[in-house]
């Protein structure tokens, strides 16, 4: 049984590390927000697994806080991206502004 517990935590740690790799590589800020979401999901799962292993319910409110934190973070990043590009006229989306963004994406 101990081996399964270790396997669970190793898998969650590997998931968080791979998401961190995308966080470093991520071409755009939305990719980074997305990978932060996955890191937070792995964090919730890790803390939850710890609580389940020790049968310790005092850690459960932490799960609630972390889940709401992820929502606020990703929504504010997405709104920030949208706000920064909204003032441009609709035709400007195909213009040089989006061209440089696409260029920097590759």
């Amino acid at each position: 049984m101990t081996a399964v517990w270790i396997a669970i935590e190793v898998l969650l740690g590997a998931a968080a590390l791979l998401s961190m790799a995308r966080l470093v590589m991520g071409p755009s800020i939305l990719d980074r927000a997305l990978s932060v979401d996955v890191v937070l999901a792995a964090t919730i799962a890790g803390i939850g697994t710890f609580a389940a292993f020790h049968r310790d319910p005092t850690l459960l409110p932490v799960l609630l806080v972390v889940s709401l934190l992820g929502f606020v973070g990703s929504v504010s990043v997405a709104r920030f991206v949208a706000r920064r590009t909204d003032p441009e006229p609709p035709g400007g989306e195909q213009g040089p502004g989006s061209g440089t963004e696409r260029g920097s994406e590759r």
């Binding site: 669970i8 898998l11 998931a15 995308r22 999901a41 799962a45 992820g70 949208a82």
Partner: protein, 116 residues
């Protein structure tokens, strides 16, 4: 009985951990934002629900397990909203790779709206 419940809980936790790992691999391997959003949704909903069921089975008689229901409820309500807003911002700022899209219904809608 407790041993059986513990093994079921362990299976749920292992399933959630495997989904999280799959999401990590997908985040690194997949080519653009929309496919990464597809893989990132797995641990956020199904993986988290499996983990919460596992925790609940481990601590079954304790009344504080009700917090887990709140976590699942908030996650089910907030993850689709966050994904929608992120996908909308990605589409509107041109960060979606159009050569990977099989069908793009929003482009036709936008063309209709701007032609009006």
């Amino acid at each position: 009985m407790t041993a059986v419940l513990d093994w079921i809980a362990l299976g749920c936790l292992l399933g959630g951990a495997l989904l999280s790992f799959a999401a990590g691999v997908g985040l690194v391997r997949f080519p653009d934002l929309l496919s990464r959003m597809h893989t990132a949704a797995k641990p956020q909903i199904l993986g988290l629900l499996l983990i919460l069921v596992g925790i609940g089975l481990r601590m079954a008689p304790d009344p504080r397990v009700g917090i887990l229901v709140l976590v699942a409820l908030f996650q089910l309500l907030t993850v689709p909203v966050a994904a929608h807003i992120a996908g909308r911002a990605a589409y509107r700022t041109g960060r979606v790779r159009r050569d990977l899209l099989a069908i793009d219904e929003l482009r036709d809608e936008l063309a209709e709206d701007s032609g009006r």
